[in-house]
Symmetry: C2
């Protein structure tokens, strides 16, 4: 009989990252900020996205709490950029998790 065990931390981390990416608006923001190392303002995003300011603000907060973006005050704006370190962590975590070949049991001789 297999003992009930805590789910390994690396899998829990994947779940946390996946949760941060589980809404189209957040996927959009991460895409925008990660490609081209671009930064942007909340006001840029609210013009592009089909949600209001306060909802957007909550998505930004969530991404901040997940450590994936960071905001820098550039009054009267807040400039949001990707958090490179944690974005790299997310990348390698997904790489490790997903890069399990479907046919790895096939052994070539």
């Amino acid at each position: 009989m297999v003992k009930k065990v805590e789910i390994p931390e690396d899998l829990q981390e994947i779940a946390r990252f996946a949760k941060a990416m589980s809404h189209p608006v957040r996927v959009y923001i991460l895409k925008k900020l990660s490609s081209r190392n671009a930064c942007c303002y909340s006001g840029d995003l609210v013009d592009e996205l089909p949600i209001g300011r306060s909802a957007l603000s909550q998505h930004l907060k969530e991404l901040k709490h997940a450590g994936l973006i960071q905001g820098e005050i550039e009054a009267p704006f807040i400039k949001y950029c990707i958090n490179k370190e944690n974005w790299a962590k997310l990348n390698s975590a997904f790489n490790d998790y997903l890069n399990v070949k479907l046919n790895e049991t096939k052994i070539e001789i």
Copy 2:
């Protein structure tokens, strides 16, 4: 002024996949079924995981609806396996999405 636009379908797809992976139990199941092409029964999982049968059943249903696993009746069991086609889709979707180099703006001469 940038027009408000629907979020592109590829990003919405990432969000859907991420949502399927946004819970540790589901991450665990997908890991188990994707590596080694293993299949397993609900009963195997319930012994390993820190949740009850009915909660597990709901996670399996969610993964089925996301198209990531499939169940085959092998009475009195149900054998769950990865859905290779859609798992491959998930892999390439994340690959496209994530494989945006942080330093792609650096141009080597």
